[in-house]
Amino acid sequence: MLELRAVSKRYGGVVATDDVTLDVVRGEVHALIGPNGAGKTTLIGQISGVLATEIGRILFNGADITHLPAHARVAAGLARSYQITSIFRRFSVLDNLALAVQARSGSSFRFWRPLLTERALFDEARSIAVDIGLGGREDTPAATLAHGEQRALEVGLALATRPQLVLLDEPMAGMGPQESRAMLALIQHLRRRVSVLLVEHDMEAVFRLADRITVLVNGRVVASGAPAAIRNDPAVRQAYLGEEIAA
């Protein structure tokens, strides 16, 4: 459903992503791994439309979205979460989620009717809060949530836009073991409804979740395939996994 065709990104002389070709198939969890600085987050930025793509093409459900603005890609069914938590800190959990629901349910160029009368928005936001494990925390300001809860809300915001494909950029960043397990369960739960492109450093999580894995090193794809194949790929072991397996 998502196809990258020879996508590159250069900042002056620095190559961030280099000739990346990648497919995410409907229904799969596709993991994107690679050492720090491999260009994973840059690629997420290009796919979500925050970063411009001058070289290569990006197709989503067969349509060329290379030059579509970020908000239009969300409308097309492509949402993202951020590696560095980016939520509406002064809004409550419920208001955060209701906002994301609002974004895809009708025009928001409505200036008169009080938002609070729109029960449907908040009902749906409530059910998403339960889905992401924040049931009972709806009225808490996002800023005061624990780190793991903020990460869950981060993912929840992306889900609330009802994407067909969600780009999760290190959802487990900075999490303790218990929080990681909760996030793992959340991703397991949501994979039934949406396709996932997952960037993650936690290899245990990656190998448990991913149907396919693409390995990025220095902006280039060095390998792509089933987890077992990736695990045994000599190029991958040398470039990336080696250090972790040795450790």
């Binding site: 509406f88 609002q102 160029f109 409505r110 200036f111 938002l115 915001l157």
Partner: protein
Amino acid sequence: MIRAIAVFGVLGIFPLAMQAMDAMFYVSLASRILIYAIAATSLNLVLGYGGMVSFGHAAFFGAGAFVVGIMAVEGVRSAWIAWPAAVAVAALAAFVIGALSLRTRGVYFIMITLAFAQMIYYICVSLKTYGGDDGLSLPGRSTIGIGTLGDDLLWYYVVLAILALVLYGLHRLVHSRFGRVIAAIRENEARAEAIGFPVYRYKLACFVIAGAVGGLAGALIANQSSYVSPSLLHWIQSGTLMIMVILGGVGTLWGGVIGAAVLLGLEHLIADYRIGWLAALAPNYQDHGALAVGIVLLAIVMLAPEGLAGLFSRTREK
């Protein structure tokens, strides 16, 4: 709601009391303050609610005033025609300026809105047919079909009614879908885009609405003293409106009203009342009114960093 009724109740009785005391000057001063309250409230929509630090709001205020002034000189004195025209011109100016400036952020946005406003200022100064530097005197206030708005008491109530409508409109807007999006953009613009809002369009719409209301305030100020000065468009005017908003309370419903009342009230007090002991210390202190106002403002901002409106409301979070 009760507070709003109380405030407007007092404001409604005020001119009658002044009339009884034969102090109609204060009714005129109050009208001026209410007009600035409208202008400051419109700026508060972009600045406070929208988080866009526009340093060129006087452009819309002044443009509205000039439209009414020029139309009056050309013989179109009906408020029903001239005021909507002022609003439309201000909205159009806001659309053009906003469309270009909103592509920038932060300091660049501040500077570019300032630059555009100064451009419009110089255009108005160069309109020699319409007064140029000297400003433009109007043949009188606008007419509303049943007569002119020349009577100061009637004029006051017209302005008060418009302020009430503007505040009610702002209240509705802030709590609408649109208002929520604007608040979200102020809070986290990148994320608002990432959950699917075309951020630029919302900001532009907010900017245009604020500009239009600023133009309406301009139409009123032209009528206030039947005189339009190019200084209405000067960047100092933008700064004054900004000070009103910051003083009153950024992003609060009453912020613009409180700020306008306090700032203009202070200026009036310092200029028109000689304080004995202060005059004994510094005989010509009234010639430096701006300094005195500045000191008082500094004190207020230090004591009430969230603006004066914050003192009345305990529901706001820290």
